[in-house]
Symmetry: C2
Subunit: 342 residues, 2 copies
Amino acid sequence: MKRERKRKVTIRDVADLVGVHHSTVSRALSPDKRDKISPTVVKKVEKAAKKLGYYRNIVASSLKQNRSFAVGVLIPDLMNPVFPPIIRGIQDTAEAVGYTVITANTDDEPEKERDALRMMQGRSIEGVIMATARREDPIVEECLANDIPVVLVNRTVDRDGVNAVVLDENYGIRSVIDHLMSLKHTRIAHIAGPQHTSTGFQRAKAFSDYLSIHNIPTDLVEATNKFTIEEGRRAFRRLLARDNSFSAIVAGNDLIALGCMDAMRDMGLLVPENISITGYDDILFLERMSPALTTVLVPKYEMGCQATKTLLGIIDGEDKAPVVLRMQPRLIVRNSTALASR
Amino acid sequence: MKRERKRKVTIRDVADLVGVHHSTVSRALSPDKRDKISPTVVKKVEKAAKKLGYYRNIVASSLKQNRSFAVGVLIPDLMNPVFPPIIRGIQDTAEAVGYTVITANTDDEPEKERDALRMMQGRSIEGVIMATARREDPIVEECLANDIPVVLVNRTVDRDGVNAVVLDENYGIRSVIDHLMSLKHTRIAHIAGPQHTSTGFQRAKAFSDYLSIHNIPTDLVEATNKFTIEEGRRAFRRLLARDNSFSAIVAGNDLIALGCMDAMRDMGLLVPENISITGYDDILFLERMSPALTTVLVPKYEMGCQATKTLLGIIDGEDKAPVVLRMQPRLIVRNSTALASR
DNA sequence: CTGAAAGCGCTTACAG
DNA sequence: CTGAAAGCGCTTACAG
């Protein structure tokens, strides 16, 4: 037995009360059609609508207009602290112009990603913001093929022609390395993020490139499969099993750095006394940890805002060439980095 | 100039391809109507649907069925680390049965809350989960009056008759006080959360009640306006200006505790050497902070799951009496608490 | 400025 | 088991 829902008040109820045709009500209540209706009627309609507690049925409106005023957001996992600020930026920007956002967690599983996209398509979302892109991503291709406006955030794809709001990874990695070199580190290792993501890959590339410029060997790179604490811990172990001559580690992101630090603690290694380490992202609470992690601040909230602005621009038909916005990161020095001891 | 969207494939396209009426396609594609259609036709329809890349237009389907397979979630702020796990619990549970969740941040402003609810009603959500309840909450009343299924999570209202998934606050506070008393603390202060929230109020009440039982004075209570670090910091200052005889603080939640610790650090007070302190919630990364905060674990993810199950139950018409589920918290001792020194 | 009509893509009694 | 029709609540060309 289904619950009996109260019948909702419709445009017709309002029309009856005022004594006009319901199409007139529709127009009177639409901001950009209102001016075709006499002010008197508009006023009466508004009064009646308020009196009856009318609010537009967006579902019906969407069906007719073939637009939904909704956008979708694909992220790996809300519980990963990088994402809440990004999403909040997206929500604030979208809601300000009357759009609703629907988020889905994909756990970085292509299958879930595809399902989520289907669901969103079924809800007629007008566009998608993806924080889940792989460097070669069939889901992104699918959006493109189906003409669904898409903008990538944080991560991007290898191929051109896709809107994205990303970071200047070269700048981020260079500022980290400059910092470590200023502390006299010469054997620097990199625990990279997954190489199928642009962030994992580009940071690793920037790392090698920049060390090469300074004639520092770049053999100390170990990649993870995921941007997680656990993966960071494991990768550190692999690295150490291979070589123990390094005095500093550049981690692919903060979680990986935390994992490395856990492994070091277990092995009795001190940060920064024995080894300096840096993170990337600047997730919350880093400044309260011991030691507080030196990292690269990624403007997460702002990236969410920018991605949304870009998406809404596309939806509104500004079809200029695909935009890639490259945001500026900023080094934040805390106390997980210190003068090289060896 | 609006973008031209690709025409989507509809039930009619599928019907034409198979050579049946579109109502047959509708039935063949509906899990609980499928059995009224001959297996052969079902098979053909499925094949055609797959071939054309058909997916059901949930918007149209919702309009006709007057249900949307969507639920709304109201939270104060996604960036507050308590909420992501709750939401993830909600999303996982809802998505498992084909429901979509729409979240909105209210920043604890009644106006935003009301707007968000309107928006959700416009989208015909079938129910709402609210993490924003005040003890007397007009928005909750509005849902009830409008017959919108609602379940509260974490916080609840004073009046009876509302579904809620909350915590056994008495148990939580008592386990904290027992712990402090076992460490010989006798002058214990409480920095309470906002008293217009059930969590702020009930924890404060449990605090006073339990101390009274043990004949410990309960004069050291200071309430905040918000569950934030900044408010915690300020309240600690007020407390200290009034009295400095306490050796332990029970904070209304983790953020407030962190604020207190910030204030103490600024004043050169050591935790736990000078003052022991406890939090509440067990937000992420507490174990990595210095000192690691002793706290009460609130099963956030599970509360999200339970709230959703309850809501879906109501939606499906199990209209038994309103349920209030009281989850069990668990004390987690870390090193912000130690033997009383004075 | 306003009305009447058609239709968005589905679902579902009602027939047969 | 299947079809034909009506209708969910809107919006919008088309008339006037």
